[in-house]
Symmetry: none
Subunit: 262 residues, 2 copies
DNA sequence: ATGCATTTGTTCGTATGTATG
DNA sequence: GCATACATACGAACAAATGCA
């Protein structure tokens, strides 16, 4: 039903992984798990493209030299994980929502989503003044206990949750930010309203962990699929730190991409 | 029937008055706070050492004469503060330093490790010629089925595993690479030996997933802690793709850091 | 592959002390 | 004095993950 095969991937080169080696029959890893891993990485790398048709089960079983049941087991696992869907009589198709989050100095949520031809939206979960914890204070370069504006938002693309972000702004340095965030939607717009017309991402730190039940529900992801967790510091043009943010993205729906000079 | 039941208290110098005295039940300070302070000071004093195992919750609760809930409350506080981590089914462990993997155009394994004042080493797991899968071929810009050198290595820092990497090199473009990799240690050295004196990282793609049993054992990480998974493309100075690599890093021991202008 | 012991994670219920109004 | 809310503490039971034989 949606067969437009627009590849946003035109810009991002394709990789895949692990696909070079044959299966290990004595490796202690079940064959269907190895197959699932391989197909997952190929999907993650964009082959076939989102919405595209996977090889038939018979083709897979020939390629890997295993029984069709083994292939089915792997595909069922991936279907449960939301990576593909299996349709009786038609075939298996790659799910269409793998979003590359391209990290750059001016990465903005709405631009990220629109680059994938989807409609960005957001839901505010928290917006209030709190005292800075030691970690937040260190990130912002202020003293612990100082007042910060805390802003938590669920980010959606075409209504599908793709990010859960926590933003900390130094209240003293950014007067009037809280009402601005309430009135506008989007951080960029709120900052502009109080006179910050540009800001740059300085460092991005990436880790991963399993979601807690709340995060899993908000992001609509299984509890055993890790989240990518990023911490970033944003500065204004004078180099003052104006935001310390932490965001969580569901894998494998979202990947983070670093391009040195894109 | 395994742990020697030596009380570390005998060997370790008494950290202040804290460890010796019992808890004060009437002092106006919550028991769990007192416990948290004691454990914190013991960790600060180096017992147990970073990465070492703390006593079990049951042992703590016996030592302090409190309920396990009370101990847990204290430990959870310290986990939030980043001093230790709790792992279901295994125990609690003193936090270790995280290795920041700084992504840049010339990121090299040994330099990464040495930057953290640790000694890099590696263990070759696979080294052979295989036919390029479609995904690998696409990454390398060659035709599927062409011969590629497949190189898998476990990377260690001071003997502790920190990375598990799979490298694919186009065999036709890089004659003599396989013996060079066998003879030298380090990819940079092997490439230099066959005339490639510099190479640059072009894109890095980051995702995360749980390890399979093999990966968990090689990287010595629990099964329920995600791996950071990266895919990267390296090119020589003329822009020819030289390597397509996929690497896995254990969280939270390793984090990936992106600095736009470092 | 199976079962068992160990350890942390989670959820009940109960009771007490303290601060507030 | 009394009701309420909250933090603290204990107890029991079970779930889930791990490691080992």
């Amino acid at each position: 039903m949606h067969e437009l095969v627009m590849k946003p991937a035109a810009a991002t080169p394709p990789p895949g992984v692990l696909a070079g080696a044959p299966l290990q029959r004595e490796g202690g890893v079940a064959l269907w798990r190895q197959i699932a891993r391989i197909v997952e990485s190929e999907i993650a790398a964009g082959s076939p493209a989102p919405g595209g048709k996977l090889p038939t089960e018979a083709q897979f079983s020939q390629r890997f030299g295993v029984n069709r049941h083994t292939v089915r087991h792997a595909l069922e696992e991936l279907e449960r994980a939301g990576l593909l869907r299996m349709e009786q009589g038609r075939g298996s198709f790659v799910a269409e929502d793998v979003l590359d989050y391209i990290v750059g100095p001016r990465t903005r949520f709405s631009e990220w989503i629109r680059r994938h031809n989807k409609e960005p939206s957001g839901k505010i979960l928290q917006l209030r003044i709190v005292a800075a914890s030691a970690a937040v204070a260190a990130g912002l370069g202020i003293r612990a206990g100082a007042r910060v504006v805390l802003f938590e938002r669920l980010g959606l693309a075409d209504g599908v949750p793709v990010s859960l972000s926590l933003h900390h702004f130094p209240a003293a340095r950014l007067r009037g930010l809280l009402p601005a965030l309430q009135a506008t939607d989007g951080i960029t717009a709120a900052l502009r309203r109080i006179g910050v017309h540009d800001y740059l991402r300085q460092v991005t730190r990436v880790s991963a962990r399993l979601p807690d039940p709340q995060e899993a529900e908000l992001l609509r992801t299984p509890r055993n699929r890790p989240l990518l967790v990023t911490e970033a510091i944003n500065v204004d043009r004078e180099g003052n730190v104006i935001e310390f943010g932490a965001a969580r993205y569901p894998t494998p729906r979202v990947q983070i991409v670093f391009e040195p000079r894109a």
